[in-house]
């Protein structure tokens, strides 16, 4: 069974020559939930954007990266973009349509589905994220947590097999975080979460990748990695409190 995400020796330079990612190598199995952690500026967002072909800009398709066994090139790009749902950090960037309905419908419509199928998908997705009946709401009337969930609905409406989330809990209050966590637990997909929220990683992710200065410094089972105090501290992070006194159970 091929890996859902297979990255071999991925290197990326910014246009001005600065190296953002060096020799990145990891694999994610289907249905796994992996946490991507690291200090600010480590390159987490840059790495995430490689996973659905937003980067590199010229998409040369050299097989450094395979999604579901497929390299990313011009031919495979549309399908890969459907398979990989990328949740952006700021929901305002992703919620660009006038109403919730239109925004969640954006993806399905781009896929060329019929209006009735689109409507069905929107309804299903909104129910899945816990906001049924929100079709006619306006984005700027929603709270941050609601906006984020609507963005997630927009991704789920395309029935992706891989979800890539960039700081999904940032800015959320504890209630919002709980809701998001329980939502993510119920999803049947491969999930990668880039986050500063180490508790989230401990609670949801079986494995973690520690990124710093564009390199993977360490990867392994979550508890083991995050309990390594010296490793965490030397990479601008720290051992999460949840691991200090007890073993959490998933």
């Amino acid at each position: 069974m091929s890996a859902a995400i297979d990255v071999r020796n991925l290197t990326y330079r910014y246009p001005d020559g600065v190296e953002a990612l060096s020799a990145i190598e990891f694999a994610v199995q289907p249905r796994e939930c992996v946490g991507l952690i690291g200090p600010n500026g480590a390159g987490k967002s840059t790495l995430l954007q490689h996973l659905n072909g937003l980067l590199p800009e010229d998409l040369n398709g050299d097989a450094n990266l395979k999604i579901m066994g497929q390299p990313i090139n011009r031919a495979t790009l549309p399908e890969i973009r459907r398979q990989v749902g990328l949740l952006f950090q700021d929901p305002n960037d992703q919620l660009f349509c006038p109403t919730v309905f239109e925004d969640v419908a954006f993806g399905p419509r781009q896929l060329g589905l019929s209006e009735s199928e689109v409507r069905l998908r929107v309804e299903e997705s909104l129910k899945q994220i816990g906001l049924p009946g929100f079709e006619n709401r306006l984005p700027h009337h929603l709270s941050l947590g609601e906006r984020r969930r609507v963005c997630l609905a927009g991704l789920l409406a395309c029935k992706p097999s891989i979800l890539v989330l960039d700081e999904p809990t940032s800015g959320l209050d504890p209630g919002g975080k709980r809701e998001l966590k329980s939502l993510l637990r119920q999803l049947d997909a491969t999930i990668i979460i880039a986050t500063h929220d180490l508790e989230l990683v401990v609670e949801l992710c079986s494995r973690a990748l520690l990124l710093n200065h564009g390199r993977i410094v360490a990867q392994g089972p979550t508890v083991e990695l995050l309990s390594n105090e010296s490793l965490m501290l030397s990479n601008g992070l720290e051992r999460p409190h949840i691991l200090l006194h007890q073993h959490p159970h998933h």
């Binding site: 910014y14 246009p15 967002s45 840059t46 800009e57 660009f96």
Partner: protein
Amino acid sequence: MHIPDGFLDTKAAATVGALSAAGLGVALRQARLHLPPRRVPLLGLSAAFVFAAQMINFPVAGGTSGHLIGGVLTAVLLGPSAAVIVISSVLIVQCFLFADGGVTALGANIFNMAIIGGVLGWTVYRLLSRLANGLTGQIWAATFASWLSTVVASIVCAGELAASGTIPWKVAFPAMTAVHMLIGIGEAIITALVLVAVSASRPDLLAPPAGATRSYFSFTAYGVLIALGLALFVSPFASTAPDGLDKTAESLGFDDKAAVIVPSPMPEYKMPLITSANLSTSVAGAVGTVFVFGLAWIFARILVPRTEPVDPLAAARLETKQP
């Protein structure tokens, strides 16, 4: 300066509406051919920006207040055709969803603010910025261009009102021009300050817009539309008092000596067969303008070597900016 419904009569509104539709058509064509898809959201956000900026009112005199047009500012940052699209979008939404600016006057508003305020202003900016060097020069050019385009836009607006019989020219012209010379100062200052602020953090945003080819088609098309607008709405009201030379000849008593050597097809700027004085001058002006423009275009094609299109990938570092 958003003209509401009821100020322009049907024929003025239809005429200027046709000019605007043509101008918008040119702008959309330019965008279809040269605007990289990456820039599309920027048009939307710039439109939001212009909309918001236009809400800044500054009191001018005696109860009137002016607001930003933002034509030159947008054109300097995005290019003239993008500016036309942006400002037109703003005006259309303001008209239908905010009842600001009439729907019959939409053509006039778009012409005055997007085409005169934007394209003409941008042309002035480009001409001037060739004379002045460096960033400071660019900003001074943009500053003056925004003042000038505001004033010219108000003159055309006065012409539209006069042509509709709403307000006589001799009242509209001084009133609009005087007020907008003041409003134009505000526009110029804000344009300058914003460009300075942008150039301080992101000088790459002031580079010529990516894909800006020196397109003869759009240059000619906009030029014709602007010239037509001026000819139709401003020239008829140009002074019918004898001009300097005539006056001198009159007072010195030799005006009857001038003989007609070659009969002109349009003596005294009047079209033969058209009887209404103003309409006649108007049409004569339009025909003359198109003719002169045609001549200029032919000369330009012969004399100016065609330049290569700017490489869209190299031009603006904005395109390759990292998130």
